[in-house]
Amino acid sequence: MTILVIIAVILAVIPLLLILGDVFMRGAPAISIGFLTHLQKPPNVSGGGIANAIVGTFTMVGIASLISVPIGVAAGIFFSEWATTKVSAISSFMNDVLTGFPSIVLGLFVFVIIVYPTKQFSAFAGGVALSFVMLPIIARTTGESLKLVPITLREASMALGIPRWKTIFRIVIGTGKNGLLTGILLAVARATGETAPILLTASTSIYFAKSIFQPTASMTVLIYNYATSPYSSWQTQAWGTALVLILIMLGLNLAVKLTIGRNLAGTRTEL
């Protein structure tokens, strides 16, 4: 029995290791300080980089976070603390449906409501599209994490004459904060790796964007453009960008583990 389980784990991990290994081998030759700090150059011209794509991705994920974190956490609090109401049950269901939505459809939606009226691709529109991707994830994980906090802790807090809003923010969220942070970081990781929504909203650019209301490059769209180009120098850069993206993902996941580890250190629950 144990052997079967171990084999299953190995089979599950092999694809990840293969991808990591492949991306590393093909992408490492492209990596250099210049790669991370210079703007793009024409094919076969040396010294090109992806600096604007890195900045573009971070900018749009930043905008998306500013929008989706407060709204998503608030929605999650509603799902958890007002769970017995009909409104909560219905909206929670709709939120779950939204988590699985095809991201290209979200991109089309933002194209219609922002890009078309403003006649302008923009980093802002890209950020909004990514916020649609992040919001349901954050709302769902926040709601589930807070539901895990035992009712007895809420009662203990209310019995001390602590008002409900303070009970929610200081005790319930205080106890469930690991789950919240994990959910937010996972949503950020997901948004960082999205392509379709920003293709339709932020388009692309070979320059840094001067404001968020202009089109911008992003790492994922750059990978798409360079990988489908006929130039091998660009294709290598695409692999290099893929490597940077994966390293960022790994970094985010590591940050989650470390945050949880630090918060859990020194607590133990009595049965």
Binding site: T152, L153, G161, T175, G266, T267, R268, T269
Partner: protein, 255 residues
């Protein structure tokens, strides 16, 4: 009844859980600075009763409360009264110890004070020590105050919860079977603190342990199926119960 004043009383108190009528009209008086035990078989409504006394019962969805609960002459269910303020005057200790898991022992003890806005460190330190002493926990934790509250044993956690309730300096302390999750030695320590508490507070304790009621309480109430069957001085209720039902419960014929 001795000449102690009435601190808390109920008038025709009724309470429901959804469709179930848990309390069917309870009228009783709780004497000041005394320990009143409420006993009865499972499902008689004793927990519901004390949860109505500090307006915790209404926090459960689909519940209703009717009737009056009068604290120092004021009905706490009147629309003018703020339930949050009432809960600072009537504290509660629950059946299972529930210290806040993300807080230290010190922070747990003063949680009610800190989260209600008290910032003065000297006052907080003083109240922490006072309430931990009253819960007979100070000597065991005075050197480890910055350790997480959940590092303590079950009995110590329950005494920490008692200290947490005491720190707010309430007038009444409600206890819902506080020792049922504890071993005999921890139970003895908690009982020791309860007997001391009545000097400053009015204590109302729900217990299914007859010997405990006999040991520590001054007055005993016996409930059955949502009704108050008998109430009186503990010695009299145990030795010469007025109701046949009470006698059957005390002699172990049911419950």
């Amino acid at each position: 009844m001795d000449s102690s004043a009435v601190k808390l009383e109920t008038k025709d108190l009724k309470a429901t859980y959804g469709k179930v009528q848990a309390l069917k009209g309870i009228t009783m008086k709780f004497p000041e600075n005394r320990v009143t035990a409420i006993m009865g078989p499972s499902g008689c409504g004793k927990s519901t009763l004390i949860r109505c006394l500090n307006r915790i019962h209404e926090l459960t969805p689909r519940t209703k409360v009717e009737g009056e609960v009068i604290l120092d002459g004021v009905n706490i269910y009147s629309p003018k009264v703020d339930p949050v303020a009432i809960r600072r005057r009537i504290g509660m200790v629950f059946q299972k110890p529930n210290p806040f898991p993300t807080m230290t022992i010190y922070d747990n003890a003063v949680a009610g004070l800190k989260l209600n806005g008290l910032r003065n460190k000297t006052k907080l330190d003083a109240l922490a020590e006072k309430s931990l002493r009253m819960a007979f926990l100070w000597d065991e934790v005075k050197d480890i105050l910055s350790k997480p509250g959940t590092d303590l044993s079950g009995g110590q956690q329950q005494r920490l919860c008692i200290a947490r309730a005491l720190a707010l300096e309430p007038e009444v302390i409600l206890m819902d079977e506080p020792c049922s999750a504890l071993d005999p030695i921890a139970t003895a320590k908690v009982e020791q603190s309860i007997v001391e508490l009545k000097k400053e507070f009015t204590v109302i304790i729900v217990t299914h342990n007859l010997q405990q009621a006999a040991r520590i309480s001054d007055y005993t109430a016996f409930m059955y199926l949502g009704k108050l069957v008998e109430f009186g001085e503990t010695a009299k209720v145990f030795e010469k119960p007025k109701s046949e039902l009470t006698e059957k419960y005390i002699t172990g014929k049911f419950g």
